[in-house]
């Protein structure tokens, strides 16, 4: 199917089916639902970044009128000893249980130590204040260098560095090391005519989704609980909640609300087990929602990082060797995107000689979570900045330097296997040919380019297709719609069946009403769930051909399905009138009953996606403020199913990446308390900060998907960091290695240079 480009609907931009409810306020988000007799849950959080919990006395709180339940770590089963959450920033389920509710130690400011359920939020707040916690305050560990230094205070006396050549019995804050290498780097650097080096630091940054975490749990007397929550992964949330509370999965029903952004951050469970447990004790529905401050302090941002890069090249630009050293903050518990950072740092290039050393480090900060292309923006910022420096040293066009070394089909990726068909060179050529790359810059402005990448992946998906009695189509699947996936499913179903887009509706089923699907994350939904939808539609077509055959009294193989109709094969019986999907559905009772199909699969063969970004910006030399003049996002989508949504992903990723590059950072004081836990001080870009993001979709179809989909959600956030840094270098002639490029940092660099 991917060979054909004669699609009627794939690649168009029809109106989203969920749009009216969202713009009129009817759509139900996480905190919108209220149930009769509901009470309110709130969390008591540690005021210290590192402390031993010696005693918790909840008796005063529990005795307060209007308080229905109080829980601490003692109310939970022991944290599971086995099992992983999965993903780049996953870690163990046992540690996640300790994130949800601290047990013997509080490991970051904001760590949950108790929770209450009360008749009103005011009473809940008063109950929290009545809980007495005795802490033994410990010295916090707050930066990578300090955490890795010998003799650093330990977060976990039982943390022994994983993957060392020889097992160690000495505890450390370094949870894991990883080494990737190929060839001989010493020899490679000897062959180089030019060598560039750089050291780059990026602080923690948050996904910044607009909707805070929220849920409501209603548990009955039999211990069965229904949970409404905003999540990217209601099936995964059900599984984690069951494991943390030692419950039967079958006793938990999770219903995903509409979701106001996730970007990876809503793949992690925080509130739901608390709400279930409180509801179980209170015998009432318990509603919980985080404040923005709680979202910043107590949910998982992405890692702060420290990367060192060295790259060598011949005079003609051929890369000869590269090394990378990188340390990633994991936060309070093991599990970080360091591995993905290590695998992606050199991924755009055909490199014979390289070595990557990665370190995952525990600190007294929130346990990191997934954030769009986890780990890649930080490591590729370092390498793409070095490539820019290299192009300057070689006096080469930065896109030409990248084209000369670009990976293509058959190139061995740094993480081992050879690339299947990929579109990096196509993206680089598109950038080179784009008018924005050659447009004259205003005086004093700068232009930077960079490459981005994400693997994309598959996992499990299910889909069901029901044909209604008038031939309209209902698709039911299990992935919360974050970025327009309902519309994409409708397009793929309509294209496959040959029916109008408007005749298809896609519903997101709860955990009891549809088959299992993994998270809406990893750029997998349009790829993997889309594949399940297409398969289910193909089964409907097979059923329709069989129904037409019995209707006409001919063999099934004499029936074709063309443009949404069953027609007799050429020469069979030209007098037979074609049967539309509506015709077949109308007579379904006579030909075998309702038309219904389903498909479930573990999707393989996700297509890697590359991007190239071009940033134009101007630096105010008096204030250090940066104005983005133009930004161009070019990306290989494989094939865009809903064109405007793909463009939206590219624009959204660019906006988030620009925010990360320019202003966003967790600022901690010496006690480990985040000082900017609100949107006034954690400065994300708003519409007035950004120009229109120009997009250009490259389409190198993924042969493993029926319509060529690669997945587009994550790659867009990777390149903006380095593209912005390189544009600043171009504008002011100074390489600022660290992010964010906030006015104080830019001004300090200008001052240091005597500007």
């Amino acid at each position: 199917m991917s060979e054909s480009i004669d699609y009627k609907l794939v690649g168009t931009s029809p109106v989203r089916p969920d749009g009216v409810d969202k713009v009129t306020g009817r759509a139900q988000y996480g905190a919108d639902l209220n149930l009769p007799n509901q009470i309110h849950g709130k969390v008591l959080r540690s005021p210290y970044a590192h402390a031993r919990i010696k005693r918790i006395d909840t008796s005063r709180a529990m005795a307060m009128p209007g308080v229905y339940a109080v829980i601490t770590g003692e109310d939970f089963p022991p944290p599971p000893e086995h099992g992983d959450v999965g993903g780049e920033a996953g870690g163990s389920i046992g540690d996640l249980a300790r994130v949800i509710m601290a047990r013997d130690k509080a490991l970051y400011h904001g760590h949950a130590v108790a929770a209450v359920a009360a008749r009103s939020l005011r009473i809940a707040d008063e109950a929290l204040a009545a809980i007495e916690v005795e802490y033994e305050v410990l010295e916090p560990v707050l930066d990578l260098d300090a955490a890795m230094a010998p003799g650093a205070p330990l977060l976990d006396e039982n943390c022994f560095t994983k993957n060392l050549p020889e097992k160690t019995d000495k505890p450390s804050n370094i949870a894991e090391v990883m080494v990737l290498s190929r060839g001989d780097v010493d020899q490679g650097f000897e062959q180089a005519d030019v060598i560039v080096e750089g050291e780059y630091r990026i602080p923690m940054a948050h996904q910044g989704y607009i909707e805070p975490h929220a849920c409501i749990a209603n548990t009955n007397e039999a211990g069965q609980s229904t949970v409404w929550c905003c999540t990217q992964a209601h099936f995964d949330f059900r599984a984690i909640t069951a494991k943390v509370l030692n419950m039967n999965v079958a006793d938990l029903k999770f219903i995903a609300s509409e979701i106001g952004g996730g970007f990876g951050g809503k793949t992690v469970v925080y509130l739901e087990p608390l709400a279930v447990l409180l509801s179980l004790k209170a015998r009432r529905p318990v509603k919980m929602k985080m404040t923005r401050e709680e979202v910043f302090r107590a949910t998982g941002p992405t890692s702060g990082t420290h990367c060192k890069i060295k790259v060598g090249a011949k005079k003609d630009g051929t890369l000869t060797a590269a090394t990378a050293w990188m340390a990633y903050e994991a936060g309070a518990y093991a599990g970080s995107p360091m591995g993905a950072g290590a695998m992606t740092v050199f991924v755009p290039y055909d490199l014979e000689n390289f070595k990557v050393e990665g370190y995952e480090v525990l600190l007294n900060k929130p346990k990191v979570g997934a954030y769009r292309a986890p780990g890649a923006p930080q490591s590729m910022h370092a390498m793409e900045s070095a490539m820019d420096d290299l192009a300057r040293e070689l006096n080469m066009d930065p896109l030409d330097l990248r084209l000369k070394n670009a990976a293509e089909e058959g190139t061995r990726a740094p993480y081992g296997p050879k690339f299947p068909v990929i579109g990096l060179k196509e993206c680089l050529r598109a950038a080179k040919a784009h008018p924005n790359y050659t447009r004259a810059l205003p005086e004093g402005a700068g232009r930077g380019v960079a490459v981005g990448f994400w693997f994309n992946f598959g996992l499990q998906s299910s889909a069901e297709v029901h044909i209604n009695e008038n031939g309209t189509v209902t698709v039911v699947e299990g992935n919360p719609d974050i970025g327009g996936s309902r519309a994409s499913m409708c397009i793929m179903a309509a294209e496959t069946l040959g029916v109008p887009y408007e005749s298809v509706r896609t519903l997101i089923g709860d955990t009891e009403s549809t088959g299992f699907s993994n998270s809406t994350g990893g750029s997998r939904t349009t790829f993997a769930t889309g594949m399940a939808v297409v398969r289910a539609c193909e089964d409907i077509i097979a059923q329709c051909r069989a129904r037409a055959a019995v209707t006409w009294g001919i063999d099934e193989d004499q029936v074709l399905w063309v443009d949404g109709q069953a027609i007799p094969a050429s020469g069979v019986n030209d007098e037979l009138k074609p049967l539309s999907l509506a015709d077949i559905a109308e007579n379904a009772a006579k030909t075998g009953g309702p038309l219904l199909s389903r498909a479930s699969l573990t999707a393989k063969g996700a297509g890697p996606s590359f991007s190239v970004n071009i940033a134009d910006l101007q630096v105010d030399r008096e204030t250090g403020k940066i104005d983005v003049l133009a930004f161009t996002a070019i990306q290989d989508a494989g094939r865009a199913i809903h064109k405007a949504y793909v463009e939206g992903q590219l624009q959204g990723g660019a906006a988030q990446g620009l925010g990360w590059a320019l202003n966003e950072e967790y600022i901690y004081n010496a006690d480990g308390i985040m000082e900017n836990a609100g949107f006034l001080d954690y400065r994300m870009p708003v519409a007035s900060d950004l120009p229109m993001i120009d997009t250009h979709i490259v389409e190198v179809p993924n042969p493993r998907h029926p319509y060529g989909v690669r997945g587009v959600g994550e790659t867009p956030i990777v390149a903006p960091l380095a593209a912005t840094a390189n544009a600043v270098r171009d504008a002011i002639g100074i390489r600022i290695h660290d992010l964010p490029l906030s006015p104080p940092r830019v001004l300090a660099a200008l001052d240091a240079a005597g500007d």
Binding site: E88, A340, A370, K604, A606
Partner: protein, 80 residues
């Protein structure tokens, strides 16, 4: 014989062996053979992402291996 390559972070559980050839017709047989050879490696191998001749699979088990297949074990990939 599938040619198997382990990344650096798995060498601690594969007795330092980075590459080896394993007679196996599918991933199930491959994992069984590797677990027999490296008893400490089972958990790490089973939760790894596996690339078979360039095709990345998150939960590989039934995939067929050709006699000259190239198999890479990688840290599990997910995303946000």
């Amino acid at each position: 014989m599938a040619h198997v390559v382990f990344p650096g972070h798995l060498l601690a559980v594969t007795d330092g062996e980075a590459e080896l050839d394993v007679p196996a017709c599918n991933v199930r047989e491959l994992l069984a053979a590797l677990e027999q050879r490296f008893p400490d490696a089972g958990d790490e191998l089973r939760k790894s992402t596996i690339a078979i001749d360039g095709l990345i699979c998150q939960d590989a088990f039934l995939e067929t291996l050709r006699p000259d297949s190239e198999v890479f074990f990688m840290p599990r990939i997910a995303g946000g």
